[in-house]
Subunit: 234 residues, 2 copies
DNA sequence: ACAAAAGTGTTCGATATACACCCATGT
DNA sequence: ACATGGGTGTATATCGAACACTTTTGT
């Protein structure tokens, strides 16, 4: 990099390596999980770590996060949000690496590990994380805290569901994230009166029980609910 | 920087310059203001910009933000919080510069511009910002949004006040930040029942009116009020 | 018939909101 | 005396929380 317009050189001593790491959440088998990849090189070879990598100088950090996500998975259209930037001095033994952490949410069926059925990438339940490389454990904790906050006043939680879903499925997602049971009647009342669900007229009959109404989201994107009312606590 | 333990070199092509910029808020003369400094070099020479500077490789980003703040002001003990990292490709004409933005809140008396009475640093009302360098306008907008959100469920707003204050002074601060008038009785009721204020027994008699009770914060730090109840809306 | 999940209303308490007058002091 | 901001309580509406039974299907 060279001096272009400036009078001050961007000195080499000021240079950092910037990484983008992603906490990719999903819900599977009734528990909240994150995607981890096994490191195949030093440092921390063999340890599990967050998917991510270095930001190139010809891309924005957001672009880098999306690219990394696509390199490891086949996911295209994901809710991805910047989380926090971790810049402690000694967080990477290789030298000065600053990580811009992101978090993303997907429906588990939406996800496919790309070309790596060898166990080098896997979902881990939040409750049973292995030892992680770098400060990635801290990053996950932070992402989890953000997710639990954000579910209270936005529709991020919907990202864990497929396009069509039943109210019970939606409630289960909320219960898993918040780690508490919710009252069925209160939940349904609140959700329906928010006006962000649209009945499809279809019924889902997968079990040996009464068929459930199938809904979709009326709002295409994640929205804030400040003015419409807060979703939880119930 | 050299390869230490790693098998992968941290290639020069991955190197970025990392800056820390600070949105320093205060309340003065009944309006919310930010500190800006005039750039004395290219690019954007002569334009106003956020205080900040490059992060050195021997300090964490938080340390850099604090250092920059202290280099420009005499402030020691400040509420400082990381805001967001701006990493668009072309946000800096000199090349690849990633900015980790922070915001900080001070009582206006706490602040002194260090050694620069020449007009190279000044407070600007949020409502009357000049044209700014880089994407600093966007950063300020983002900080303002965060501040307005955070005042609803934390005690950050208290950082705008001196150690001792009256309830009316506290209410004025909230009104300035939220840009709306609040009901006096409701405000006082809510604040007092939160249990985070401590009466000093003293009275403040600065005007030609009834003396006002003087309070201090019972809680030393900024706290979340999720469990105690939300401060606003009133 | 029964198991299993879907679906549905009401009551109660807490909290937010709206609102008006007297008090203590300085000039 | 009067101007100025300090200080106080109540009534109403809204929202969250708690709570149990009937319905529809598959086996």
């Amino acid at each position: 990099m060279s001096i272009r317009n400036g009078t001050r050189a961007l000195r080499a001593i000021d240079r950092h390596t910037v990484a983008a790491d992603i906490v990719l959440f999903t819900i599977q088998d009734g528990s909240l999980k994150v995607l981890l990849v096994r490191r195949d090189r030093l440092p921390f070879r063999g340890r599990w770590s967050l998917p991510g990598g270095f930001v190139r100088t010809d891309e924005s950090i957001d672009e880098a996060a999306l690219r990394e996500l696509q390199e490891e998975t086949n996911i295209g259209n994901v809710y991805l949000e910047q989380l926090y930037t971790f810049g402690e001095r000694d967080r990477d033994p290789r030298g000065r690496v600053v990580t811009v952490a992101y978090y993303a949410l997907v429906h588990w069926q939406q996800f496919q590990v790309r070309g790596k059925p060898d166990g080098s990438a896997a979902w881990f339940a939040i409750k049973r994380l292995p030892e992680l490389a770098f400060d990635h454990r801290r990053i996950i904790d932070y992402a989890l805290e953000r997710l639990r906050n954000k579910i209270n006043y936005t529709t991020v939680g919907f990202q864990f569901l497929p396009r069509q879903f039943t109210l019970t499925e939606l409630q289960r997602a909320y219960e898993v994230i918040l780690e508490q049971r919710l009252d069925k009647r209160n939940f349904r009342k609140k959700m329906l009166q928010l006006g962000i669900l649209k009945g499809t007229g279809q019924f889902n009959t997968n079990g040996r029980q009464r068929p459930a109404r199938v809904y979709t989201f009326a709002e295409p994107k994640v929205i804030k609910l400040q003015e419409k009312g807060i979703i939880v606590p119930f």
